[in-house]
Amino acid sequence: MKQKSFLLSAENLSIGYGKGGKRRIVAQNLSATLYEGELVCLVGPNGAGKTTLLKTLAGTQKPLAGKSKAMETEISTLTPIKRAQTLSFVLSGRPFVQGFTVFELASLGRYPYTNWRGELQESDKKTVLQALSDVKVQHLMERDFSELSDGESQRVLIARALAQDTPILLLDEPTAFLDLPRKVELLSLLRQYAWEKRKGVLMSLHDIDLALRFADRLWVMNPSGSFVVGTPEDLALSGVIGEVFSTDTIHFSEDTGEWKLKENLGARVCVEGDTIPSFWTSRALQRKGYTLVSVSQGSCTLIEIEVSSNSIHWSITFPSGEKIIAPSIEDVLFALSRSF
């Protein structure tokens, strides 16, 4: 196997604010590496220090102790321009910028390469256009940045970072404000970028579910101080995910990889029938807190789903023997709530 070359590494990094006696350490002894061609998600509960770590790695904030290196060079020793040619950063939130078209905004990414007037050469223009088409916003090129939707503006900000053409791309919560399909779309885009162009992409993500599905590796920050690195599946198996993210009311179910509410109405329900209607019926019942069991597990309320050519019927048999036919999942839930 070919040796993977590393792009970014943290060695016993302590991050936080202030200096001297007044400093506040957010997290310490962080060691991790970002390799080329991988998408790494930085996850952890709110307040674990994800943004602080990203800022420290981006060099906009100084580490309190330890080293952060970009390809063998310590980041704090790089000149601002050299640093901007090595790392690009997409911050969280949306800056309010008026009077810039999408193309002009993305072309700010060429800052570390242009002359003192900031004039774009033909090659710069090509890079910017490529970046815009990489995140599929080339059709917005002439639009005013301030008029874009949140999803569009997030992509344009990412295009700006791509135009900076750096081996390392850092992103702080790039999917905040986006709806689920757009989150998934954006993450696939970034993963494709990392894989195809052999870049290192490191992003913080509060959506642990998506991180587990998309990341090549996870960096998990725990407010208690532990910092664990690994493949999502390894971390799920070893229980790290459950340990870091579970709270009194929610826990990570290792058998389904889903998050579940701990509270339970206790009522036992068994669902039988076609796969697809059964799946959604079970989802609804889980959401309402019923315990799903199979018929062999003793007394329960039985829900049988009958699919005919143009309609679905749910027939509910209560332990008492009473029987109800419901025409929709909503009616099923209503009937159950009445009887328990």
Partner: protein, 336 residues
């Protein structure tokens, strides 16, 4: 491209407006000089009333030059501050430069001690330089620009309070002199003083233009700018110095001219529909100058011997214009 031709049209039309107002300012005023004679005097033709010659060369021409230069300088300084502080209400005086200048002038006029011999310009310049030095010291200590903005405003308030105390204990005649200075005026600048003002404004303008690229990056905020390779700290110091040079020199000679520095950048941004400083800096310089010239023309109330305070005109005429433009652009769609 469409935009570049639009930009040229903007520059040309502002330039021609400026020419027309300049000609009107030469000809009209408390004494009307027929246009034909204005041209004859300018061409060095004899046989025109000597008094008119003096009015033209010693009063109106320097006043026109002063208003063009001062208006442009204040507007460019205001643009720089608005971008640095990411605040639409920022202007050339947010760093407390006018407060420092007025302290200098207040000490000179109100105490009438040793400072009085220095003259208004020098004492004003001394005052704003002291504030500049304080701000430079502070700028190195604070982390972000918002803190710097608040500190600048607070220093300004503190200094103004001190000026008020001075006013409170001064005699009415001296207060009168101070108040007249604080109204602002382009009339009291001689050719000799212009020899200082013009180079200062030119140096400041060129320096600002040199930072256009950095200012464009700063539009995304300090954090983004820093990840793009801008050394935010150095740019901040440079902008403080440039602004002080521009606004400090103007204030020294013309008093604290209100409003232009805040309004003109907005007007230019609206008119040109761009945030690009490579276009906005020259645009602000030109339209700021023309607007100042127009305000001065109005203040001199052609046909009468009365002269209105310059600041009253800039604010009274200017504020409604800006309100109208801002409201119109909001209705235009980008309600955020």
């Amino acid at each position: 491209m469409k935009r570049s031709s639009f930009v040229s049209i903007f520059f040309l039309s502002v330039f021609f407006t400026g020419c027309i107002v300049a000609i009107l300012s030469l000809s009209l005023g408390s004494v009307s000089i027929p246009l034909r004679d204005v041209i004859r005097i300018l061409l060095g033709d004899g046989g025109v009333k000597n008094g008119w010659k003096i009015i033209l060369f010693e009063l109106r021409l320097p006043r026109i030059c002063t208003s063009l230069v001062a208006g442009g300088a204040l507007s460019v300084a205001g643009l720089g501050m608005q971008t640095l502080f990411q605040n639409p209400l920022a202007g050339p005086f947010v760093l407390g430069i006018n407060a420092g200048a007025s302290l200098g002038v207040a000490l000179a006029t109100l105490l009438a001690g040793s400072l009085a011999s220095l003259g208004l310009a020098t004492s004003s310049w001394l005052g704003s330089t002291v504030v500049l030095i304080v701000m430079m010291g502070v700028a190195g200590k604070v982390k972000n620009n918002t803190t710097l903005l608040i500190l600048g405003l607070m220093i300004g308030y503190g200094v103004s309070a001190f000026v008020n105390v001075l006013i409170h204990f001064s005699s009415p005649e001296r207060i009168q002199q101070f108040i007249v200075w604080s109204f602002g005026s382009f009339s009291s600048v001689s050719w000799r003083q212009l020899l200082f003002l013009v180079p200062a404004a030119c140096v400041g303008f060129c320096a600002m233009l040199f930072f256009a690229k950095q200012l464009n990056a700063l539009l995304l905020g300090e954090a983004y700018a820093s990840t793009m390779g801008v050394s935010v700290y150095r740019v901040r110091l440079a902008l403080i110095v440039i602004t002080s040079l521009l606004a400090g020199s103007v204030t020294a000679f013309c008093g604290p001219v209100a409003f232009l520095g805040v309004a003109v950048p907005h007007l230019c941004r609206q008119a040109l529909k761009t945030g690009d400083h490579r276009i906005l800096i020259p645009a602000c310089a030109l339209s700021g100058g023309v607007l100042a010239l127009t305000a001065d023309f109005v203040a001199h109330m052609p046909g009468s011997a009365m002269v209105l305070p310059l600041n009253a005109v800039t604010s009274l005429v200017g504020a409604p214009v800006v309100i109208w433009i801002v409201l119109r652009s909001r209705r235009g769609g980008n309600v955020s």
